[in-house]
């Protein structure tokens, strides 16, 4: 039996070592990235049995040292990242990206950063992991080609700006509590401005980094311009990293009353994101732009769910389900979109074709992905919506149920353009296109996630336990 210390350390040691090796040996880099991505996925799978573990790195306990903990909230995110990295690396889009010099090392560094972030229990350590993630993500975005330069630069600035706000907030936390460990900050029982100020700063920084409306301006260009496999990661899991920290702070570092007080703001933010994203998606003419705007909309579910999470593990569970479903589905769709683009040489929605009739799995991936995004049963999106509706109605917010139901239709309507473009796509006599099995696998996972309700409940229980 592997000790928790070794297992948790392996979460970042493994990809980081891989990254260094890939940097040192460019010829083997791509294969290395794929291999390590899969090994990481296996590792995360194995970690399911260790949920609840908490280790003090270097043997130094909390106030002094940095603690890692693998709880019910962290594991789903780890799993999401693991799955996305593994499948995206194997996909044609992933292999194309990894073939670029340096990409494999960035890829693995990003993975290391994400893993470290998800298990970190320390506010300052989270800042560093956020930096690792941001820098690696920006670099991966910039690899998307000449058009990606400007969006990547904007992304970098936004990200750095967000980090500064976050760091300021953490500093205030430290000043007020003398602790950096999130649990200890929460235990300090802050109130008044001493609580509000750092929370506001960190929240601001994180929303900026997550691209949640109204700070979404940078997101669609960046996600649309990046290489498809990078987009899959960015949309699928990188924005989730900032949201994950947000959840952490508001549920662990802040008392429920604070979340309760801030809930209306979160709800408004969430609804605004839903509206803005849908509007943008309606206007998009390019496939990747459509998908990127749909990310803006879907990210809105996070603040929305957070708006009901005060004292409600159910809403947190819904949030997790939202993030996981969106991550898998969006990853699948981005990878599939790459398949379409490769097959057609462009991604204009109104003139897609199906060369050699090879796009079956790709189409299937998009179809299932859309199902999950819309939140139709039995997909993960449905699980999320149902859970959120239940949490909200339990708090007396009946309006959430029709809203969520309507949002599904709205999503369906703008995604319909994509789906009908696929149906229309005529089969050409010959041509080549990637088969898209990885995308399909991710999409299937997004749908199968709908059956993970009991597992998520169990994980949330594990998280609630001390």
């Amino acid at each position: 039996m592997v000790s928790p210390d070794a297992a948790l350390a392996a979460l970042f040691v493994l990809p980081l070592t891989g990254a260094l090796a890939a940097f040192a040996a460019p010829r083997a880099a791509a294969a290395l990235a794929i291999g390590v991505s899969w090994a990481n996925a296996a590792l995360v799978g194995g970690l399911y049995g260790m949920v609840g573990a908490r280790i003090a790195l270097g043997g130094h306990a909390a106030p002094l040292g940095v603690a890692l903990r693998l709880d019910g909230l962290a594991w789903p995110f780890l799993a999401l990242a693991g799955a996305l990295f593994a499948f995206a690396a194997s996909a044609t889009a992933g292999r194309a990206l990894l073939a670029k010099p340096g990409a494999a090392a960035l890829w693995l560094t990003l993975l290391a950063g994400l893993n470290a972030l998800f298990v970190s229990a320390d506010a300052f350590n989270l800042y560093i992991t956020l930096e690792v993630v941001s820098l690696a993500a920006v670099a991966l975005t910039a690899l998307g080609g000449p058009a990606a330069g400007a969006p990547a630069l904007r992304y970098l600035f936004v990200s750095l700006g967000g980090s500064i706000f976050y760091l300021a907030g953490v500093a205030f936390f430290y000043r007020a509590t003398g602790a950096l460990d999130i649990g200890l900050i929460g235990a300090a029982g802050l109130s008044g401005p001493a609580l509000a100020a750092p929370l506001a700063l960190t929240t601001l920084g994180l929303l900026l980094k997550a691209g949640a409306a109204p700070f979404h301006f940078w997101l669609p260009p960046a996600h649309a311009a990046a290489a498809p496999a990078a987009s899959a990661l960015l949309s699928g899991v990188v924005v989730k990293a900032a949201l994950y920290v947000l959840i952490r702070l508001w549920t662990d570092a802040a008392p429920p009353e604070a979340l309760d007080a801030a809930a209306p703001v979160f709800r408004v933010l969430g609804l605004a994101a839903l509206g803005v994203g849908a509007l943008g998606a309606f206007r998009a003419t390019r496939l990747k732009a459509l998908i990127a705007f749909s990310t803006v909309a879907q990210i809105g579910y996070a603040p929305l769910a957070l708006g009901f999470a005060a004292g409600s593990p159910l809403a947190v569970q819904a949030l997790v389900a939202f993030m996981a479903a969106h991550g898998l589905a969006k990853g699948a769709i981005f990878l599939a979109a790459d398949g379409l683009r490769r097959a057609n040489g462009h991604d204009a929605l109104d003139s897609l074709a199906d060369p050699g009739s090879r796009l079956g799995p790709t189409k299937g991936a998009i179809g299932l992905g859309v199902v999950a995004l819309m939140g139709l049963p039995p997909s993960g999106g449905f699980l999320a919506k149902w859970t959120l509706a239940e949490a909200a109605t339990a708090q007396g917010h009946w309006w959430m149920a029709p809203l969520l139901a309507g949002a599904a239709v709205l999503t369906g309507v703008y995604m319909l353009r994509l789906v009908s473009a696929l149906v229309r796509a005529p089969a050409c006599a010959d041509g080549d296109a990637p088969r898209g099995w990885s995308a399909l696998a991710l999409a299937v996972a997004a749908v199968a996630l709908g059956f993970s309700g009991p597992m998520l409940s169990a994980l949330m229980l594990a998280e609630a336990a001390p």
Binding site: V371, M374, L376, P377, T387, A394, A405, V409, S420
Partner: protein, 501 residues
Amino acid sequence: MTGSAELLPVLIVGATLLSAAAIFPLRDDQVRLRAAVCLAGPAATLALVGALIAGVRSGARYEARFPFLPGDDLLLQADALSVLFVALSSALWLVTTVYALGYMRHGPNRSRFFGFFALCVSATMGVALAGNMITFLVFYETLTLATYPLVVHKGDAATLRAGRTYLIYTLSGGAMVFLGTMLLHALQGAGGFEVGGLLAQAETRPSDAALRLLFAILIAGVGVKAALAPLHGWLPLAMVAPAPVSALLHAVAVVKAGAFGVVRVVYDVFGVTLADALGVLPWLGAAAAITIVWGSVLALGQDDLKRRLAYSTVSQVSYIALGASLAHPAAAVGAILHLIHQGIMKITLFFCAGAFAEVEGVKTVSRMAGLGRRMPWTMAAFTVAALGMIGVPPTAGFVTKWYLAIGALEADGAWVVAVLLISSGLNAAYFLPIVGAAWFRPPPDDMVRPEPPPRLSVALMAVSPVVTALLVMAAALLATSIFSPLGWAQALALREFGFER
């Protein structure tokens, strides 16, 4: 897992899913292999359904439960009502597959077509076997999705427009069901469909206003698929789909799932007694009655044969809702019977319409003159089904109308009989001229016949409607025999719905 009691419903849904999964990867040119797989699925399913029927008849209880949502399970169970629907679906699936093998003999994406076809049936099976509202919702939405690629199969602009309308309607309907399910969950907590009504067994009864709202939401949700006016707009558009799809859509899958949902909501969620006490049933009845008459009136003016049939479906399916709204055992028998009978009749009509279009190039009513001489068997099947729609004995439609009318009279709803009469008259008005012209008028001079399909195709396209037309007759001729749906329906009305006669 305790053996077949849990396994059988899962196996039935699984068999259909499996056949879909087996069809999708096939290449379009693997015609024979696909035909074999396509036929193996329904055959295996039929065998399983046979076992299920035998089991249910002998009183066995089938139930499979999987944890799904917080506080609610995915529940597949086989009660008498679901068995009826499952039997209909699997039998007609087989017939339609045979037909479709003849019909879809060229064109791209045939594997996709047959795959979604099987998936569509899976969803229908799931709707039938759903043991609670959540499960119903899951399969109800799956059905929407599985059908969309079939509706837009041709992929041209008009088809895509129709598909868009279809999706928006049905997704909105699904959203309403979601909402209703949520509300039900909030009012009642977890709970499956119950004989006599889930809500009727609540210890503390929620407020009447909440219950009425719930009823309205749920009925609006299932009403979209059941094409209850004014939610029927999608149905006549959806006839752009290939004929086997229209046949399946109108007879078994989509429309019938909606109607089945109405029955479930009225009987097993609310229970007749509670629904009656709430005073919501007359509203449902009125909506159904308006739909029946309005659909028939619209059908009169349609020249496109499939469109005329589609409006006819709008009208005919609402008989089920009408019967369910009467809160009377005989009417319930009529409603449940019509679930089956409308299916076999309408599938026959669509089979025929497709065959006319494929073999003779006839798509409009105005060009059907003389068809009887050239396609006697198909036209004979069409005639039988059309007479069934009118309610002429000895066809299935007569049995339905008979029970509905008796139930209406006994439930003091004489106006329902008037509705039935008006509808039957209109049915006659839009079907009999077709039949008359087809048999007794010479064909138009400027008849341009398409290249005749291969003989095998023609044969397959003729066999299916003839078989279903025979079923239409048999459903009435053997109404009181043990093979007929009538016995099931009566047993259901008496036992499941808690009526005492």
